[in-house]
Every structure is written in C-alpha cells, then in structure tokens.
C-alpha cells in the first residue's frame, strides 16, 4: 500500500506539470492539437470560446501596453527602494540643498529641477500620484455612472428626462475648466481633486450605462423577474447590472488614461497639489528653461508611458469584447 501511494505521488507530480504545460501550449498556440486531450473533447469545446477570446486579446499592441503598465506599477510599488529621496525632500523648498537646474551628477542621475529637487526621485514618486489619481477617479466616476445610468434607464419617463438634462448641463462645460475653477474654491489637495474629477466624469459613464441598460431591459428574463414579484431594486442590481456592465469595463482603462492626462494637464497650468511630486508640475517648472530641456523631457515621457499603457490595454479590450467590431465572415477578396 505504502509503495503504491508513493508511486502514485511520484507519477502524479510530473504529469500535472506536463498537463499544465500542454494546456498552456493549447491556449497560446493557435490551432494546436494534443492527443492527451482527446477524451476531454467536450471540456475543450467548452473552453474553446475562452481560448478564442484570449487569442483575440493578445495582440502585439496590447502586450506592449501591458508591459508599459507593469513598468509604471513597479515604479509605484517599489518607490522607496528605487530612490533615496523621500517625498518631504522632494517637495519642501528649503530642505534640498543644491543648485536648481543642475546638470546630471552622481547624486542626481537626471539632474535637478526647480528648488533643486531631484528629477529622478520626483519621476519615481510621481508614479504613485498618477496611478492613485487615475484609478480612484475612474472608480468613483464609473460606480456613480453605473448607479445613475441604471436608475435613469430602468424607470424611464420623467426620471430619465430630469437626470439626462442634468447630465447634459454638466457635459456642456469643459470638464477641465470646471475642475480648475472648483479646485480654486475648495482646495488643491489630491483627495479633493480626485473626488471632484470623479463627480464630473459621472455623466459620461451614466450615458454609456443608460444605453446599455435600455438594451438589456428588453430581455425576457427581466420581465420574468418582475412577474415573479422582485422589487425594482433587486431587478436593477441583480439582473440588469451584471448583464449591462460590459461597456463600462471596456471604457475603464481608457478612462484611467484620460484621467491621468487631465490631472497632469491641470498640474501643468500650476493648479496641482504642490505637496506631492507629480509630472505635470515638473514640466511646468522646466518648460521655459530651454537650456535644461531634459528636466521637462523625462516627466513627459513618463506621462506618455503611463497613459499609453492604459490606452493600449483599453483598446485591446475593446477589440476583443465589443461585439460590433467582431468580424464574422472572411473578406471576399
């Protein structure tokens, strides 16, 4: 018995590893057939659609976006280990003793910017600011948009008209100008800014959700749930939202990229949070110093990397998930 069990264990481990490897091969290489899976034809047929989705997702541009995003996330998580400067040294005007707009030295690998802040340190800590702002903003905006849009589309009629007119009213004014105006009045701290930006981005998400809910509402199972006596709250949040949320997910990553871009744009105008290192403020510091252009060059490159990562992943998701873009038949010619 003992021998048997040990034998089983010995034979078990390599097989599972092999299986995993083969399964990975099956997933990654298009058209791969494996004799070991002939008995599992049914399950394979089931997972085939999953494999198709995965293969649609791994386009070269999406992989590039994923790598860029990985780089920015790495910088954001390991910021204290990547640079020896702390946030206090990088944002307090008095603390950093050095020459403003200095050439690169061993202490400052990319030179210094205004008030003798270290450029590399501000770049690395800026990853945290940008990611926090982008993701938190869109989480606020998307969740608000889901709730408002669902309520608006589900009840329809007068409720819909009132909510949509309010959304139109907010969308008429350019969001960035409104944000600058409000931050001047309320305060320039990061939490205030991101919640304001999130609130201002609710109408766009609400519209998206509304059009999606209108389609889902036609389905028979909604009627069945209503006939079964479900409260409208339950119908909305249990039956409609899970089926109508796909466009929000598709637009999530693109929204994060746009939020980061908007935040750095505002910081570029000088309305950013001065107590945190961030890329837009860096460009604002160095944009007129043409003899030390690299102090403005590197932050812009980081903005490009971060925004591009999110946008490329968002584009890949849109191509993979959006049914309108799916090509069903081959081209004739």
């Amino acid at each position: 018995m003992k021998q048997l069990s040990s034998k089983k264990i010995q034979s078990d481990i390599p097989i599972t590893n092999m299986k995993r490897f083969r399964y990975l091969k099956f997933f990654l290489i298009p058209g791969w057939r494996d004799p070991a899976f002939t008995k599992l034809e049914y399950q394979i047929g089931k997972s085939k659609s999953k494999r198709k989705l995965f293969r649609r997702l791994i386009k070269p541009l999406t992989i590039i976006g994923f790598l860029l995003l990985l780089f920015v996330t790495f910088c954001a998580i390991f910021a204290p280990w990547l640079t020896k400067y702390t946030v206090k040294v990088l944002t307090d005007k008095g603390l950093s003793g050095g020459i403003p707009f200095d050439d690169p030295t061993s202490d400052h690998p990319l030179g210094t910017t205004q008030y003798a802040y270290d450029v590399l340190g501000r770049l690395i800590w800026g990853c945290r600011t940008a990611l926090t702002f982008g993701i938190a903003t869109i989480i606020i905006g998307a969740s608000g948009g889901i709730i408002v849009g669902t309520i608006s589309a589900y009840f329809g009629g007068r409720v819909d008209a009132v909510i949509m007119r309010i959304a139109d009213l907010i969308m008429i004014f350019p969001a960035l100008i409104l944000l600058i105006l409000f931050t001047q009045m309320v305060g320039e701290q990061l939490p205030i800014m991101l919640s304001l930006f999130g609130l201002l981005s609710i109408p766009a998400f609400a519209r998206l959700m509304r059009s999606s809910v209108f389609q889902v509402k036609q389905n028979l199972y909604i009627e069945a749930a209503q006939t079964g006596g479900a409260k409208s709250f339950k119908v909305m949040f249990k039956h409609i939202i899970p089926n109508a949320i796909a466009p929000i997910i598709i637009n999530f990553f693109g929204g994060v990229g746009a939020a980061i871009l908007g935040f750095t744009s505002i910081a570029f105008l000088g309305f950013g949070d001065q107590s945190l290192p961030d890329w837009g403020t860096d460009i604002n510091f160095a944009r007129t110093k043409f003899s030390h252009y690299y102090a403005a060059f590197w932050p812009g490159l980081f903005i490009l990397i971060a925004v591009m990562g999110f946008m490329l992943i968002g584009d890949g998701l849109r191509d993979a998930l959006d049914p309108r873009l799916r090509v069903t038949t081959k081209k004739v010619i």
Binding site: L61, G187, Y293, I303, V307, L325, I333
Partner: protein, 320 residues
C-alpha cells in the same frame, strides 16, 4: 483657496478701510444671492459686466470680440485638415485590417491620444527653435521677433481706419507683410501639435464603422457585380460609414472653437484659453463667467448643427 479679486487688484495694503471701500464700490459687500440676481438681470439685458483685473475697464463682450478671432485663426486650419486626414487614415486602416499598415496607423493614433499636448508643444518649441534659425520661440507682438517689417510695430496699428481682429486678414488688407509672416510663423507649430493630437478619434471611429459596413450584404453585391475595389470602398462603403463620424467631426469642431487651453498656455498665444486661465488665476469672476457662457453657447449650437446635418447626410433619418 478662494481668489479674492479686490486683494489681487490692490495688492496687500496695510489699510483695511481702502479695501472695504473698494469692496463697497464693487458691490461685493451685498449678500451672494443679491449679487447673483443683479448679475443675471444685467446678463440678460446684454451687459455682461466689465473685466476687473485682466484688462481693466473693457467690457467682457468687447474682450471676447477681440480674442475669439485669434482663436479662430489658430484652429481654422486644423479644423479643415483633421477630418480629411483622419477619414483617409481610417479607411486605409480598415482596408488592411490586422496587417502591418493597420497596426502602424493605430499606433500613431494611440500615440497622438496619449501624448500630453503641452509636453509635445514644449519639446517642439525646443527642437525647432534650436535647429531652425528663422523660427523664434516667443510671444506674438514682440518687436524684436520681426526685424524685417518696416511698418509693423504694434497690432492693431493706430493709423488704420478699422481692423477686423484677424491678423492675417488685416495683414492682407493693409499690405503689412511683416505682420503676416510673423503670424504664420507663430501658427505653424500649434497647428502641427493640434492636428497630430486630434487625429486619433476620427481615425478610430472611421475604422470601426468601415469594418462594420464592409460586412454588409450590399458590399458583397457590389463586389459580385464587378465594381472596382476603389469604387466599392469610396462610393458604397464610405458614404455609409461616414454617418457616425460626421457627428464626431462637428462636435470636435465646436470643441476646438472654444479654445485650446494647454496649447495656448504652452505657446503664450493670447486666445480664449489663455484669457480663461489668466482670469481664473487672478480671480476675475465676471470674465470667467462670460467666457464660460460663450463656450457653452458654441458647444450647444454645435450640437444643434450636428443634429440638422444628420438629416442631410443620411436622408433616412427624419425628426418628426
């Protein structure tokens, strides 16, 4: 925090009575609701107020009349060429789906979307200004920037009987070549930046709707009856694919007319966006209100025009 227009105008004075007197003269001591109704009453009778700090003594409508032509001059060329290039690129991209050309065009489009426009502007200013001698980075209206002009010393010239506000048109009317050259030299880089950054949206929309249309039955019919591929694309497919794109084009035009905030700040171009930011920084609230309302008017009329154009482009749609 709250920008105080009175403090910003007077500077920090030791005497509080002067500040209080100025506040009373402006009517800022009244309750907020009273101020709002006074403003609304004046607003709807055609008096949009007088700028307090930014350009003192000029009425807001006068200021908008001066800066709006400048913004139009900045955006007119991008407005005209963006749809042409964008639709062309989108069609090429849809024709070669998932090939190298398509990937390249989409990459360029995504690059345009992701580039921070102010950074692109700064870098272009640096490199072009460094390597091309006739280009100078600087503001308009600086005498040192146009050494070849005989007549041009300031704009508008006090000797002219009238001026339209458009610098290029004025240059042609009064034969001031220095003014034209100066204006064009300052407009090239902002135009390049704006075009490059705004291409992506139209390209992507055209590509998506072209892919959708190319799947339709009538395209197969057109190919089956022996149409040339070029005609299939440009006559049968493009007309139908342009319907969603036209909405985007008109909306983009309206949005562009409201002024390019960051571009104008980066190039020191005194258009709508520049005045907006200056007014916000200094707390000139009447001017902010005026420009915001004007912006909203432009966008609203853009939406209206888009709705009307829909019926012209696609006769199947009718508003009853």
């Amino acid at each position: 925090m709250f920008e105080d227009p009175v403090l910003n105008k007077l500077g920090i004075l030791p005497d509080p009575t002067i500040i209080e007197a100025e506040r009373r003269r402006m009517g800022l001591h009244l309750p907020l609701i009273t101020q709002l109704f006074i403003y609304l009453k004046n607003f709807f009778t055609g008096d949009w107020g007088t700028s307090y700090i930014v350009s003192e003594g000029k009425s807001v409508i006068q200021i908008i009349g001066e800066i709006f032509p400048k913004t139009i001059e900045l955006v007119i060329v991008p407005i005209l060429i963006i749809p042409i290039i964008g639709v062309k690129l989108g069609v090429i991209s849809a024709k070669n789906k998932d090939k190298a050309k398509d990937t390249f065009i989409r990459g360029i489009g995504i690059l345009g979307t992701c580039l921070p426009i102010f950074w692109l502007a700064t870098m272009l200013q640096y490199f072009v200004g460094h390597y091309i001698e006739i280009y100078t980075y600087g503001q308009l209206n600086l005498e040192i920037m146009s050494p070849n002009s005989v007549t041009f010393s300031q704009y508008p010239d006090p000797e002219w009987p009238f001026h339209t506000g458009f610098r290029i048109i004025d240059g042609f009317l009064f034969n001031d070549q220095g003014l034209i050259q100066d204006t064009l030299l300052h407009l090239i880089l902002p135009m390049i930046c704006m075009t490059f950054v705004s291409l992506a949206g139209i390209t992507r929309q055209t590509r998506a709707s072209m892919l959708e249309v190319l799947e339709q039955d009538y395209i197969r019919t057109a190919r089956a009856k022996g149409c040339l591929e070029n005609n299939v694309i440009s006559k049968h497919a493009l007309r139908n694919a342009l319907i969603p794109t036209s909405n985007l084009i008109i909306g983009g035009t309206a949005a562009r007319l409201t002024g390019a905030l960051f571009l104008e700040m980066a190039f020191n171009y005194t258009g709508m966006g520049f005045f907006m930011v200056t007014a916000i920084t200094l707390g000139d609230y009447v001017l902010i209100n005026g420009i915001l309302v004007f912006t909203a008017l432009i966008i609203l009329s853009g939406n209206l025009i888009a709705d009307v154009m829909y019926t012209i482009i696609d006769p199947r749609i009718a508003y009853t």
